[in-house]
Symmetry: C2
Subunit: 431 residues, 2 copies
C-alpha cells in the first residue's frame, strides 16, 4: 500500500514531537489507517542547526515552495507559527489541494474562517485541534462529542504560563514579579511574556473555542481582554479568605442568541472543579443545555502533548483520504454573530477599596450600590496601616457590567473613597 | 432532502431524552448533517402507559420486528437494556443492514466484539459512547483525540451511585447503610443496588474502556472486582488522616504488552484530580505515553446527559450515511490479550489490623514485610477500646500483588494478629 506523504512547515518544539511520534507509532498509525505515513520534506530556517530529533539531512529544506508546491505531498503540517507569511503559504497549499493540520492559534484566531472556507472550496481538510489547550482533545469534544447539544457557557484555563504564575503566587504567597522571573528560569514563561501575561494568547484560544462551540464567527477583537500583571498578593489572600481562587479565566457565555467572550483574572469559587487546575495544566469547563457540566483537563503545551493533538488530526485527515471524503467536516457557522451589550453581561464582582475611616462612609458606599439595585453578598472591613483609612472588600450579587461600571465611576467620584485597589469578576459560585 | 429515519428500541429515561433532543435540536442536526432526522417507530413494553415525553401514539409499537425488519428505518437506537434478547435483536438488525447506536454497557461488555464484527461485516456503524460515563465523550477521546498516542493507564470513577455514597460517607461521616438508604430515596441508587455497590457496573465499563484504550479484547471476566459494601467510616477517617480519599476506582494498567484491569475501593491521594470528583459525577483519568495526563469529567448518568451521547453518535452515523462511508470506523484490536500475573501487578497498599498490645509484636509484623522486600511508607498505631489490643494502620511502598497476598496470609497466621480489619489499594501518590 502506497504511503501517505506529509510535509512539515517547521521543526521546533512541536515539530520535533510530531516527527518522533510518527516514527515511534508507525505500527499504530498503520493499524488505524491501513497504510504507512512518511515525512517527505521539512521546512527549517537553518539547515545546519543541531536538531534534538533524529532526521535525515536530505529531508530538510529552506524553501517553503518545495513543500507547498510539491506534487508528492498530500498533507501539510504547519508548526512554524507566524501569521501573515504562514497564511499565504497555507492559502497557496490549499489551492494546490493539500490538506492541512495546524497548531497555530494566532493564525486560526485571526484568519480561521478564511482558511476554513478556502479548505472547503478546495475539497481539503483543515484541522487545528493543537491550537487550543495542547494535548486536550477539546475541539473534537465540542464538534463531535457534544454535537447534539447546545453549549451555553465555556470557562477555560487555557494559558499554562499564567496558570503556573497564579498557582505559585497563591500557594507560596509570592509577588507576581518574583514568580514570573522563576517561571522564565524554568522555561514556563518566555523572555518576552507579554502575549501570555496580558491575556492575548488566552483570548486567541477563546475566539477559536467560541466560534466552534457557539457555531458563530467570533473574532479576536470581540474578546475583551485583561491580563494578570496587576494581580497582587493581597487580592489572592483576600480571595482565599472569602473562599475563592484566582485564575486567568476565559469566559464564553451565550444567552439566547447573544454571546459574550472575555479573558480576565477572576475569582473562582474554591469548590469549582476549575479551581483545582494547577501549575501549567489547562482545562475547559463546558456547560451544555442537555449534558450539563463537563470538563476536559490536561497539558496545555509541551512538545509531545501538543504533537499528539497534531498527529491525531493527521490520523483524521488520513482516514478521510482513505475514504475519499476530505473537505466535508468543516461546518460553517450556523448563527450570525450577536454580541451582548454591557447591560446584558451579568456577573458577581469582587471589589477592594481604601476609604476614609469616618462615620457614614459605609452608608454612602452602599447607597451607590442600592441606587443601581445591586446587592452585596459579602463584606469585609479592616484597618489599613495608613492612618485614617479603612480597607473594604465587597462581593456583589449578580450585576450587569453596565451597572457595575456606573457604580465604579460613582465610587471614584466619592470624596470618601481614596483608591479603588482592585476589582475582579467572581465566577463558579452560583447566582 | 429526504429524512434519515430512526427506530428506537426503548422509551425509558434515556429514550425519552433522545426523543426530546431530536425534537428540540432539529435545526442543529439539520445544519450539521444536511438533512432532517425523523423518529419513525418506538418499541415500548406498554402501549398505554403515560409518557413523560410528547410522542404520537401511532409511533409506538410492542413488536421489535416492526423496527428491526422495517425497510424504512436506517438507524436503530437501542436504549431498552437487557442482554440476551437485545443481542439477538441487534444481530438481526445488523444482518438487515441497520446502523446501531447503543447505550447498553452490559451488552457491550459481554458481546461488544461479536456485535462490532457483525457490524463491520455488514458495512454498518455500531457506536456506543453512551455505554461508558453517560455524557462524557470519553470513547471518542480515546479513539480519535488520543489516536496517535499509546495509553498506559486509565483510572476511572465510572459509577455515579457508589461515588455518591462514598462522597457522603466521607463528608458527613455517615455509615454505608444509612447513605445507601438516603441514595435510594433520592433516586441515586436502585432498590436493588447490587450491580452498582458490588462494582459490576463499573467493571463492565472498565472492560469496554480497556478494550478500546489498549486495542486489546479485554473481557468482563478479566476484570477483578471488589465492591464498596465492606467500606467502613473508620477506613475513610484513617484514609483522610493519612491524606487519602476513598473512591471506587476502575484501573486499567498496561506495562509493555501486558495489562491489568480491576475495580475496587481504593485510597486516592487527595492531591490527585480524581479525588475532587464528587457526588454522582464521573471522570476518567488517562495517562498517555506522549500526552501525559488528561482527564474527562462530567455527568455519568441521567436522561439528557446520556441522551446527548446517544444523539452525538447518531450524528456520527448520519454523517457517515451522507458520505457513504459507514462500517469503516470500527478498528479490530491490534494486540493479543495478555494479562498480568499477580507478581506483575504493582501498587501501594493500606492495611489496618488489630494486634495484641505486647512487646515485640510490631517487630514480628515488620519482619514479614521485610521478608518479601516490601517497605513501609506510613505507620500509625493507636490503642483500641478492647483491652490489650492495638490498632495498626500501615501504608506500604510499591509491592507486587503476589507479595502482598503472601504477606496478608502470613499475617493471618501470626498469633499476635487478632484481625485484619481492612485492606485497600493506594493510588495517585507516585511511586
Amino acid at each position: 500500500m502506497e504511503a501517505i506523504s506529509v510535509g512539515l512547515l517547521g521543526l521546533g518544539t512541536v515539530g520535533s514531537g510530531v516527527v518522533k511520534i510518527i516514527k515511534n507509532h508507525q505500527d499504530k498509525l498503520m493499524h488505524q489507517v491501513g497504510c504507512p505515513v512518511e515525512v517527505k520534506k521539512v521546512l527549517v530556517q537553518d539547515l545546519n542547526k543541531q536538531r534534538e530529533v533524529d532526521i535525515e539531512a536530505s529531508l530538510l529544506t529552506g524553501s517553503p515552495e518545495e513543500i507547498i508546491d510539491n506534487p508528492d505531498i498530500d498533507i501539510i503540517i504547519e508548526v512554524m507559527g507566524g501569521i501573515e507569511d504562514t497564511r499565504k503559504h497555507l492559502l497557496k497549499a490549499l489551492a494546490n489541494k493539500k490538506h492541512i493540520v495546524t497548531a497555530n492559534k494566532d493564525l486560526m484566531a485571526l484568519y480561521g474562517s478564511e482558511l476554513l472556507t478556502a479548505a472547503s472550496e478546495n475539497g481539503c481538510d483543515l484541522f487545528y485541534e493543537a491550537s487550543v489547550a495542547g494535548g486536550i482533545p477539546i475541539l473534537r469534544g465540542l464538534a463531535d462529542g457534544l454535537a447534539s447539544d447546545r453549549i451555553t457557557k465555556m470557562m477555560g484555563i487555557v494559558n499554562g504560563t499564567t496558570n503556573y504564575i497564579l498557582t505559585k503566587m497563591s500557594q507560596d504567597g509570592s509577588a507576581y514579579e518574583d514568580v514570573l522571573k522563576e517561571a522564565q528560569e524554568l522555561g514556563y514563561a518566555e523572555s518576552d511574556p507579554t502575549s501570555d501575561v496580558e491575556g492575548l494568547d488566552a483570548a486567541r484560544k477563546m475566539a477559536i473555542l467560541a466560534t466552534l462551540g457557539f457555531s458563530m464567527k467570533v473574532d479576536l477583537v470581540d474578546v475583551k481582554v485583561k491580563g494578570i500583571t496587576g494581580v497582587t498578593e493581597e487580592d489572592l489572600q483576600y480571595g482565599k479568605q472569602l473562599g475563592y481562587i484566582m485564575k486567568l479565566i476565559g469566559i464564553a457565555h451565550r444567552e439566547g442568541e447573544k454571546v459574550e467572550v472575555s479573558v480576565q483574572p477572576a475569582l473562582l469559587a474554591e469548590s469549582h472543579p476549575l479551581a483545582g487546575v494547577n501549575n501549567e495544566y489547562n482545562a475547559v469547563y463546558v456547560y451544555g443545555e442537555a449534558v450539563g457540566e463537563t470538563m476536559f483537563y490536561g497539558p496545555g503545551a509541551g512538545s509531545l502533548p501538543t504533537a499528539t493533538a497534531v498527529v491525531s488530526d493527521l490520523v483524521g485527515v488520513m482516514k478521510n483520504l482513505r475514504l475519499g471524503v476530505n473537505g466535508k467536516s468543516a461546518v460553517s457557522p450556523q448563527y450570525p454573530k450577536k454580541l451582548k451589550d454591557p447591560s446584558e453581561i451579568y456577573s458577581k464582582y469582587f471589589l477592594r477599596l481604601h476609604v476614609k475611616d469616618e462615620v457614614g462612609v459605609f452608608g454612602e458606599l452602599t447607597s451607590i450600590f442600592s441606587k443601581h439595585s445591586v446587592s452585596l453578598e459579602k463584606i469585609l472591613q479592616l484597618p489599613v496601616e495608613e492612618k485614617g483609612l479603612a480597607e473594604i472588600v465587597l462581593v456583589t450579587h449578580q450585576s450587569s457590567l453596565k451597572d457595575y461600571e456606573d457604580i465604579l465611576s460613582s465610587l471614584e467620584d466619592l470624596p470618601a473613597v481614596k483608591t479603588i485597589e482592585s476589582s475582579y469578576r467572581v465566577e463558579g459560585s452560583g447566582s
